[in-house]
């Protein structure tokens, strides 16, 4: 069972040869493949990270723009509303003043007509009262 002979050194040499051979056909090429894949994965990972950061900054930029546009639109709406309110109040005031002027004019006219009517009425009252007097007292007495 423990019979040592030339098998041992030959086996050692053979093992070293196997190590050298496997180093050439197995360890080196496959390690290279693994390292290259690692590098590739790391590269694509970092570029993906870059892309992600770029996309995030774009999103931020767009959100900023959206917020800006929203603010602008809000201010436009507010301005328009204020203008509309001003126009409304202006028109209302104009209409009111026009109405008041018309009312005054109408009142003046009424007053005028009333006065003229009253004056004609007075004349008529005069003549009528004279006629009544004449009728009652007779024409000679009236003069």
């Amino acid at each position: 069972m423990f019979d040592f002979d030339l098998t041992m050194p030959l086996m050692a040499v053979q093992f070293l040869l196997l190590t050298a051979l496997l180093n050439a056909v197995f360890y080196k090429p496959l390690t290279k493949v693994l390292d290259e894949r690692d590098a590739f994965i790391r590269g694509s990972q970092s570029s993906a990270k870059d892309n992600l950061a770029k996309a995030e900054s774009l999103v931020e930029e767009y959100e900023r723009q959206i917020a800006l546009a929203r603010k602008e639109s809000q201010s436009v709406v507010e301005k328009a509303q204020a203008e509309a309110r001003e126009i409304v109040s202006q028109k209302t005031a104009e209409a009111q003043s026009a109405a008041i002027a018309q009312k005054e004019k109408a009142a003046q006219e009424i007053q005028q007509q009333k006065e003229s009517a009253l004056s004609t009425l007075e004349q008529q009252v005069d003549s009528l009262s004279r006629q009544i007097l004449e009728k009652i007292l007779g024409a000679e007495l009236v003069k």
């Binding site: 069972m1 423990f2 019979d3 040592f4 002979d5 030339l6 098998t7 041992m8 050194p9 030959l10 086996m11 050692a12 053979q14 093992f15 070293l16 196997l18 190590t19 051979l21 496997l22 180093n23 056909v25 197995f26 360890y27 090429p29 496959l30 390690t31 493949v33 693994l34 290259e36 894949r37 590739f40």
Partner: protein, 248 residues
């Protein structure tokens, strides 16, 4: 050893022949042919799998490349856990080849009924159930960690023997002998014992009963490969760091 039992079984998938070898003569000495045949099969499997995985390497892996990448990442993690992020890269091939060679040897020996292939003497089995193989691997591990220590610190590497106190010098020296000894005998004993238990059970009850033990054997085989590679990594790490600064 127990070959008289095999007479009872007309059909044998496993036979116990511990200590019998298919000897080849090289000059004055001999080598264990069955160990080399099996180790060539293991090496062939590893090389073919590697070539198939890397022949047409894609950024998005599929099939065998995916599997071998999984194996490589497992080995890299194992080495990194032992040696630390800074030092592990140059040691991945050594520790990884230890793991792959032992693992494929163990499983190849356990999963494939090699008994169907007749050899003039001895039998095909996992190369790791021969003490020569395990001692070779363990001595290479020792050389590796000495090499690691000397390359990192030069002769200052010897300071670790008298630090923190020279009283421990004999134990520190003894450690350099016990490390390869325990490494080689652990692996050798586990694999040989596993194959023996399975063989004995197959001789006694050829059907179904050995299956749980075989499953256990597969588990042990994988664990032993992991233990060998992990300990090799730990020893190299120890040589790189030195005794005094083990706690980071």
């Amino acid at each position: 050893m127990l070959s008289s039992f095999t007479i009872l079984n007309s059909f044998t998938l496993a036979e116990l022949e511990v200590g019998e070898h298919f000897l080849w003569k090289i000059g004055n000495s001999t080598v264990h042919g069955q160990v080399f045949l099996m180790s060539w099969i293991v090496i062939g499997v590893l090389l073919i799998a590697s070539l198939a995985a890397t022949r047409n390497a894609q950024t998005i892996p599929g099939g065998i490349q995916n599997f071998m990448e999984y194996a490589l990442e497992f080995i890299r993690d194992l080495t990194r856990n032992q040696l630390g992020e800074k030092e592990y890269r140059p040691w991945v091939p050594f520790v990884g080849t230890l793991f792959l060679f032992i693992f494929v040897s163990n499983w190849g020996g356990a999963l494939i009924p090699w008994k169907l292939i007749k050899l003039p003497s001895g039998e095909l089995a996992a190369p790791t159930n021969d003490i020569n193989t395990t001692v070779a691997l363990a001595l290479l591990t020792s050389l590796a960690y000495f090499y690691a220590g000397f390359r990192k610190k030069g002769l200052g590497y010897f300071k670790k023997y008298i630090e923190p106190t020279p009283i421990l010098l004999p134990i520190a020296i003894l450690e350099d002998f016990t490390k390869p000894l325990s490494l080689s005998f652990r692996l050798f004993g586990n694999i040989l014992a596993d194959e023996l238990v399975v063989a004995v059970l197959v001789l006694l009850v050829p059907l179904f009963v050995p299956l749980p033990v075989m499953a256990l054997g597969l588990f042990t085989s994988a664990i032993q490969a992991l233990v060998f590679a992990t300990l090799a990594g730990a020893y190299i790490h120890e040589a790189l760091e030195g005794h005094g600064e083990e706690e980071h």
